[in-house]
C-alpha cells in the first residue's frame, strides 16, 4: 500500500462511473444526435442518409407536434404541483412530528419500490375502473351518482404520475425540513410572526432547496413519461414519450424520433437553466446536492 499516490487514488475511484457513463450514456446520446440530423429514403425502409440536414427539426415545429409538447409540459407541471401539495405536508410531518413512527412511515414510502412500476400501474387500472372499488366507495357515500368514469382520461394519467413520482418529491423535502434549525421558527414566533407568516417567510424559504430539488426530480422524468399514459390513459393521451416511441417502433422513422427526443432534451436544459438563473445561488446549492 505504501507507494500509491494519495492524489491518483481518489481519481481512480471515478473510473467505473466515467466508463459506464461514456459507454452507456454519452455514446447512445451521440448516436441519437447523429440520427436527428439524418434524412430518410422515401422508397426504402431503414435507409437513412446521415449528414447535417435540419429537415427533422423543421417537422418538429409543426403545430401538431408543438401541441403535444405543450400538453406534456402542462401534465408534468400539474403533476409536479400535485406531488408538492401532497408531499410537503407529509415530509413536514415526517421530519418534525412523526416521532417513533418515523422509521415506519419511511418504510411505507419505500415499499412501492419493491414492486415493478408496471405492476403497480396495472393495479391502478383496477382501482380506477368504473366497476372498481373507488367508484363503488364514492357511489355508496353518495358523492357521485353514476359510476366513476375517469379511467382512460388525462385525470387518471395525472393520478398515476403523481402516485409514481411522489417519493421523489418527499425525500429531498424531508432532508431540507429536517436540516432546518427549529430555533429559527421559535425566533420567528418570539418576534411576533403568526403561524402562517412563520411558515411562508421562514420555513418555505429555508426549505426552498428541497422544494426545487423535489420539483426537478419529479418534473423532468414526468416529461418523458411513457408507461402511465399508455396504460391508465388508454393510449389516448399522447405525451412526447409516447410520440417518440411510436416514431421509433411503428413509424420506422428514427431520424424524426431522434429529433423529437433531442428537442425535449434541449427544452429540459432550458428549464434547468431558468431555475439556476432566476432562483439564484440557493438553487445552485440544491442542484449541487444531487447533480
Amino acid at each position: 500500500m505504501a507507494s500509491r499516490s494519495s492524489v491518483a487514488e481518489p481519481r481512480a475511484l471515478l473510473l467505473p462511473a466515467w466508463g459506464w457513463y461514456s459507454v452507456f450514456f454519452v455514446a447512445p446520446l451521440l448516436i441519437m444526435v447523429a440520427y436527428s440530423f439524418a434524412i430518410n429514403d422515401p422508397d426504402r425502409f431503414f435507409t437513412v442518409t446521415f449528414g447535417f440536414y435540419t429537415d427533422q427539426f423543421q417537422r418538429v415545429w409543426d403545430p401538431l407536434y408543438l401541441e403535444i409538447y405543450k400538453n406534456t409540459f402542462l401534465m408534468a407541471l400539474s403533476g409536479t404541483f400535485g406531488c408538492l401539495l401532497i408531499g410537503y405536508p407529509f415530509a413536514y410531518f415526517l421530519a418534525t412530528r412523526a416521532g417513533r413512527y418515523k422509521t415506519f412511515l419511511f418504510f411505507l414510502v419505500i415499499v412501492p419500490f419493491w414492486t415493478s412500476l408496471l405492476i403497480r400501474t396495472y393495479a391502478w387500472l383496477l382501482l380506477l375502473s368504473e366497476n372498481g372499488p373507488l367508484s363503488g366507495a364514492l357511489q355508496s357515500m353518495g358523492l357521485i351518482a353514476n359510476p366513476l368514469n375517469i379511467l382512460y382520461t388525462p385525470i387518471s394519467v395525472w393520478i398515476g404520475i403523481v402516485y409514481d413520482y411522489l417519493p421523489l418529491m418527499v425525500f429531498p423535502l424531508y432532508v431540507a425540513i429536517e436540516r432546518m434549525d427549529p430555533r429559527l421558527k421559535e425566533a420567528s414566533r418570539d418576534l411576533g410572526a403568526g403561524r402562517g407568516a412563520t411558515f411562508w417567510k421562514v420555513t418555505v424559504p429555508l426549505t426552498m432547496p428541497g422544494i426545487i430539488t423535489g420539483c426537478l426530480l419529479t418534473f423532468i422524468p414526468m416529461t418523458g413519461e411513457y408507461v402511465v399514459p399508455e396504460i391508465l390513459g388508454g393510449a389516448k393521451s399522447y405525451l412526447v414519450g409516447n410520440l417518440v416511441a411510436n416514431e421509433f417502433r411503428t413509424a420506422i422513422d428514427w431520424p424524426f424520433g431522434a429529433a423529437l427526443s433531442m428537442s425535449l432534451v434541449a427544452m429540459m436544459l432550458v428549464v434547468i437553466f431558468v431555475y439556476l438563473r432566476f432562483l439564484g445561488r440557493r438553487s445552485e446549492e440544491s442542484l449541487g446536492s444531487f447533480l
Binding site: E230, A235, Y238, A251, I252
Partner: protein, 377 residues
C-alpha cells in the same frame, strides 16, 4: 368452467394469440426485460443443395407471436422428428424486426405479417427458402401466394390469414352491423364503448375503406378526409388497444376494431359477440413462416414448415386461434362451426374486396401523421 376453459380465460386477460401481450407498454417492458440468452451459434447459413436431403439438426428455435400455435403442435413435431423446439415471443412485428436488426442470434423461424416480410427481406434478415425441402407448399391456395410483399415466395410461406374488421356485442348493440359505415355511424350512440387497434395502418385504412378509397391509398387528400372521420370518432373511443379481449368480454366495451381471431376468442366467453368483415372491403393479411438469415438449424426449420403445412395440423391450429388456414383440404378436419364461420373464412363476395397491405415508407409516414393527429386529439 372446466380447467381448460379457465386457463384460456386467464390467457384472454393478458395474452393474445396473435399480436399481443398485455398492452403496448407492457410489451415494450417485457421485451426489454427478456433479452435472450441464446448461445451465439455459428451454424452454416444458406440453403442446402436442392434435391439432397440435408441432415436434420436436433434443435429448432422459433420466434413467434405469443400463443399462436395449438399447445399440442410443437410436442407432436418434437416427437415425430426428435427435434427439441424452443420458442420466444414478440408482441408486434416491429418488436421482432427491432430485435433481429439488433443482431439477435440463434433464431431459426420468425412469423412476420406480409408487409414485414418485405421489410425484413430488404434488410437482409431472411434466408432464401429451399422449396425442394417444402413439398407441401403446393397445398397452399394460390390467392395467398406471390404477393407484392414477396414475389415468388422466395422468403416466406403463409402460416394463416385473417382480416381487419370489427366485432360487437349484440347484447348491447341493438343494430345489425355490417359495414365500416355502420361502425363510424353508430359511434356517437355507443360513445365511450368503442376500442380501436393500437396500430395506424388498420385504423386509418378502415376510414379509407368507408370513404370508398383503397386501403393502400397514398393520396394526401384521401388520407386527410380519412383523418377527419377519425377525429370525429376519437371522442367516442374508450381505449386505443390491441388487447381488447378482456374489456369486450366484461362488456366494458361493445365495439372493437380488431382482427377476426380476437373476436373468435371473445365469443368463447361472450356468445353474443359478432365479427364483421365490412361490406366495403378491408385488409386481409397473412402471417408467414420465414427462416432467419444465419439460422443455426435451417434443415429443421424447413422440415417444420413443411410438416406444419399438413391440413390436419393447420386445422388443429385454426381451431385454437380462429385464424383461417391458407392450405386446401383442412376443412374436413375442422368442426363445421369453424369451417363455415364467415368470420374465419369470409364468403366469396366479400373476399373479392379484400386488400393486402402494400407498405412503403411514404405509405407508412402518411398513416403515422394521421395517427398522431388522431391520438393527440
Amino acid at each position: 368452467m372446466s380447467d381448460d376453459r379457465w386457463i384460456e380465460h386467464l390467457n384472454s386477460l393478458e395474452v393474445s394469440r396473435r399480436r399481443l401481450l398485455a398492452g403496448a407498454a407492457a410489451a415494450g417492458f417485457l421485451a426489454a426485460c427478456s433479452r435472450e440468452l441464446r448461445p451465439n451459434d455459428t451454424g452454416t447459413s444458406g440453403a442446402a443443395t436442392p434435391g439432397a436431403t440435408p441432415e436434420l439438426e436436433d434443435q429448432l428455435s422459433i420466434y413467434n407471436w405469443a400463443d399462436y400455435v395449438h399447445p399440442k403442435t410443437y410436442g407432436q413435431f418434437e416427437k415425430e422428428f426428435d427435434i427439441k423446439i424452443t420458442e420466444d415471443n414478440y408482441p408486434s412485428n416491429e418488436d421482432a424486426l427491432a430485435k433481429l436488426q439488433a443482431g439477435a442470434k440463434g433464431y431459426d423461424l420468425v412469423v412476420p405479417t406480409g408487409y414485414m416480410v418485405e421489410i425484413m427481406r430488404e434488410q437482409g434478415l431472411l434466408m432464401e427458402l429451399d422449396h425442394s425441402q417444402i413439398p407441401n407448399f403446393s397445398l397452399i391456395e394460390d390467392r395467398f401466394l406471390d404477393t407484392a410483399a414477396d414475389p415468388g415466395n422466395r422468403y416466406s410461406v403463409p402460416k394463416d390469414f385473417g382480416t381487419t374488421g370489427y366485432g360487437y356485442r349484440s347484447k348491447f348493440v341493438k343494430e345489425e352491423m355490417s359495414s365500416w359505415e355502420d361502425f363510424f355511424r353508430l359511434a356517437p350512440k355507443y360513445s365511450g364503448r368503442y376500442t380501436v387497434l393500437d396500430s395506424s395502418p388498420e385504423v386509418v385504412g378502415s376510414a379509407l375503406k368507408m370513404l370508398g378509397y383503397s386501403y393502400n391509398s397514398v393520396e394526401p387528400k384521401e388520407i386527410e378526409e380519412a383523418t377527419k372521420e377519425l377525429l370525429k370518432l376519437k371522442p367516442h373511443v374508450r381505449k386505443i388497444t390491441s388487447s381488447m379481449r378482456e374489456i369486450m368480454i366484461t362488456g366494458e366495451a361493445y365495439v372493437s376494431l380488431t382482427w377476426n381471431g380476437e373476436i373468435g376468442y371473445v365469443a368463447l366467453d361472450a356468445a353474443d359477440a359478432r365479427y364483421v368483415v365490412p361490406s366495403e372491403g378491408t385488409e386481409v393479411w397473412t402471417d408467414n413462416w420465414c427462416i432467419v438469415a444465419g439460422a443455426p438449424h435451417p434443415a429443421a426449420a424447413h422440415a417444420f414448415i413443411n410438416w406444419h403445412l399438413q391440413p390436419k395440423i393447420q386445422a388443429q391450429d385454426t381451431s385454437y386461434h380462429y385464424y383461417g388456414s391458407c392450405v386446401e383440404g383442412e376443412e374436413e378436419f375442422l368442426k363445421p362451426a369453424i369451417a363455415n364461420d364467415p368470420a374465419v373464412y369470409p364468403a366469396g363476395d366479400v373476399l373479392e374486396k379484400l386488400e393486402f397491405a402494400a407498405a412503403n415508407p411514404e405509405w407508412l409516414r402518411l398513416r403515422n401523421e394521421a395517427w398522431t393527429k388522431f391520438k393527440a386529439a
